[in-house]
């Protein structure tokens, strides 16, 4: 109500704060869907083994699938260089100060890739269990990567990722004999937050469990 100086007017709005990001992501999703490209947003902490997992995945997919990879890091091209040994369509996205990827960065990065013939887009998000989760990139599915070396409490402490993930991978399963990681606690926390999400044990270095992950990739469609 306008009743003179120093009064205020309250304007009700109800608009999504991330509307711009979400709109760009929706356009990307529609475009990739039209091209028949299955897109995976891979989210995990620094050191959880996301890049190693992607290296192993790309190695196994050679001759069978036609992947492209986008990899986000604050700085350096090291992950991109590692992945480029296994895939000729890799774009490194430097986020500078950004702790997560956003939809506009994916849209720009995709302009640098020849998507002709591509049937799988793997996006390695910036190493972070919190910030990337709330930013839609236009992915088909979201995969969360935890590692046994991080401790069993990481699922409970990161409920948004656990609740919104389409698949969870527990990496570095080969190190279990050397750790005090309580897998029962980890799994019960996961189940409490997301009763139905598939949870697969893997080791990017020994290859243990990779078959189930690759089968999941093959059987889950756009």
């Amino acid at each position: 109500m306008s009743i003179g100086p120093n009064a205020s007017t309250r304007l009700p709005i109800e608009a999504r704060v991330l509307d711009v990001n979400d709109s760009i992501a929706a356009e990307t999703r529609a475009d990739l869907g039209r091209r028949g490209i299955f897109t995976v947003d891979i989210i995990g902490a620094p050191g959880s083994g996301k890049t190693a997992l992607l290296e192993a995945t790309l190695r196994e997919l050679r001759g069978r699938r036609h992947p492209a990879v986008l990899v986000g890091d604050l700085t350096t091209r090291r992950d991109g260089d590692r992945l480029a040994r296994w895939c000729d369509r890799v774009v490194q996205i430097s986020t500078g100060q950004g702790c997560h990827l956003e939809a506009h960065q994916i849209r720009e990065a995709l302009k640098q890739v020849d998507l002709e013939g591509v049937d799988l887009l793997l996006i390695e998000n910036v190493g972070n269990l919190i910030c990337p989760v709330g930013f839609d990139l236009g992915q088909s599915v979201k995969v969360g990567v935890f590692a046994t070396t991080e401790g069993e409490d990481k699922a409970a402490k990161h409920p948004y990722l656990v609740q919104s993930a389409d698949l969870l991978l527990l990496n570095k399963i080969d190190l279990m004999p050397h750790l005090s990681f309580d897998r029962a606690v980890f799994e019960s926390d996961v189940r409490l937050l997301n009763p139905n999400v598939p949870l697969l044990d893997v080791s990017a270095t020994t290859g243990e469990g990779l078959r189930a992950w690759l089968d999941w990739l093959d059987s889950t469609n756009v």
């Binding site: 205020s8 304007l11 704060v17 711009v20 702790c99 997560h100 956003e102 709330g134 409970a156 409490l192």
Partner: protein
């Protein structure tokens, strides 16, 4: 710190919706518990993002929505700021659910234009 990116996006949204000319006093947002937004960090980022802009000095009001808990043993339902809590009945695994809404709810602007002038009749857009 995702609070910073969200504050930037929020400032852009507020600029889009705020009526021309009126100084913004308050910005109200509603945030689901899944977002994990820290109110203190959010206010700090808001002040940083709006520094030396027309939104400088505006007050960010954050309605942090809680987790909903449902006890599988006794059926009790209640709200909590954290997802993992025991039920009063002793059950240690109540089911936690939460929303990930992140909404700009309202903007309050100062009415510093004297009533009766042409400017005050401009419809906000």
């Amino acid at each position: 710190m995702h609070e910073f990116s969200i504050a930037e996006a929020l400032a852009a949204q507020v600029a889009l919706y705020a009526p021309a000319g009126g100084r913004v006093l308050e910005v109200e947002i509603r945030v689901g518990a899944l977002r994990g937004l820290e109110p203190e960090a959010m206010r700090m980022c808001w002040d940083a993002v709006t520094y030396q802009t027309p939104l400088a000095g505006s007050n960010l009001l954050m309605d942090a929505r809680p987790w909903s808990l449902a006890c599988p043993a006794c059926g009790r339902e209640w709200e909590s700021p954290v997802p993992f809590v025991d039920c009063e009945c002793g059950e240690q695994s109540p089911n936690p659910t939460a929303d990930d809404e992140l909404l700009l709810v309202a903007i309050s602007t100062e009415d510093d234009v004297p009533a009766g002038t042409a400017a005050s009749t401009e419809a906000p857009r």
